[in-house]
Symmetry: C2
Subunit: 231 residues, 2 copies
DNA sequence: CCGCTCCGGATAGCGATACTATCTGCTATC
DNA sequence: GATAGCAGATAGTATCGCTATCCGGAGCGG
């Protein structure tokens, strides 16, 4: 397969494929002479993976490169590439290490101990949780984070399902790819499903704008304060 | 308060504040003469919110502008600004509407009906779920999405907690801000907590790399296939 | 062997994003 | 009245993700 066929079959333009080759996202084709190369199904597959990570997962080109490099590294454990993928796709939180930060760090440490999680405090994920807590606190929405255990519980269930899936893959390369897909597309999926649940729950509680209110009396069991139908 | 003080108190440089003013993220200060303006606590607060949305939530400047415009619009319901915020912060999935897409759409419609969700099929969240399913399918990881109900269930619990929080806020402006913070920072929080859960679960199942394996026999109850310790 | 198309590889350019720097004309203050 | 700071406008910068062009060579029908 030549580059033009790879392009038409993947829907990615030839210059873009060349760009991905330059950036190391896609391995070079097999050079059959000084300026002729062959590409195969693996290249096509990889190209589709790249597009999914970029278009659906929202990763940058640099993040894709790092993630794929981790998945390609020989002799790595699933645990290792999972962690490396995580670190590659999340940016530094970059907030001041002030007093709010320290308090948030204590809260996260408490949470982790409460749930018996075995995780690294220096991981970007840990730092990001701290950053969110510190931010919410500074914005005077710290109360929101009292629900942290609900979040953690839900994430545990999802993570269990994810690891079940990955563990069920027989082929090793497919398993590593499964880690990448599950991590990156999983982020997008969780985010989108949470939005749908928000939509639905807000309609259920507050009506959908049309005034024939057919949500019968099952409103409001968890909110302890007055809400006079929310503006 | 002059612009310099606003800058030093928020940690945002004066040129950047001017940039935000130009872009409509921050309302103009009260003009006290032709070229002198006063800023107050509301400006400082808004500025901190902007930085949280950008640094922690990862929003673009354009998305922040749209979200804040929605929250500032007078007379809007919580439901409406929740939806508008969602639409503003998520990009178009832009995948081909092929046969895989159509099948994914059916799956999502099934899910929504199964759970009794009241959501809009044209919302970006719905389209994004479809895009993830179609993508996973094309990458031959369609089996992963059999866990969709686990994801949906977890997201429902989170959404309930979020709406409980918002409903518990007395002040209307704070409530609208709570929607924004909960939506945007909530995304970041869920993503990061899922990563921590992934880390922990992978260590629990596969060991943490140090070879004294102290996870006693509670390994593997949900995976039905051979995993000979994952490469 | 000619002419045409396509190839791989290299280099340069382009549009969008998020600032950053500079300039102008004014003003508050010491 | 010198100095500093201000608002508003304009221009410049760095990065990202491509896109366009050029080059010398290869394949291939005639």
């Amino acid at each position: 397969m030549r580059i033009k066929e790879l392009s038409s079959r993947s829907g990615v333009s030839v210059p873009t494929i060349k760009y991905y080759l330059r950036e190391g996202l896609l391995p070079a084709g097999e050079l059959v002479s000084k300026n002729q190369a062959n590409y195969d199904g693996a290249h096509l597959r990889r190209l589709r993976l790249i597009r999914a990570l970029v278009d659906v997962g929202g990763l940058t080109i640099a993040a894709v490169r790092d993630v794929l490099a981790a998945a390609d590294a020989p002799g790595e454990t699933v645990r290792k590439i999972l962690y490396t993928a995580q670190e590659s796709i999340s940016g530094e939180p970059e907030l001041p290490r002030d007093e709010a930060w320290a308090e948030a760090e204590r809260k996260v440490a408490d949470l982790v101990e409460r749930r018996g999680w075995q995780v690294k405090p220096e991981s970007k994920a840990w730092q990001t949780v701290v950053a969110v807590l510190a931010s919410a606190r500074q914005l005077e929405h710290g109360v929101w984070t009292h629900k942290l255990d609900v979040y953690a519980d839900a994430c545990e269930r999802i993570a269990t399902a994810d690891l079940d899936y990955v563990a069920g893959i027989a082929d090793v390369d497919a398993m590593l790819e499964g880690v990448v897909v599950g991590t990156v597309l999983g982020d997008t999926l969780v985010t989108a499903l949470r939005r749908l649940a928000h939509q639905s729950e807000s309609v259920r509680r507050l009506g959908d704008g049309t005034q024939d209110d057919d949500t019968q009396g099952d409103d409001t069991q968890g909110n302890d304060t007055h809400h006079e139908d929310a503006r």
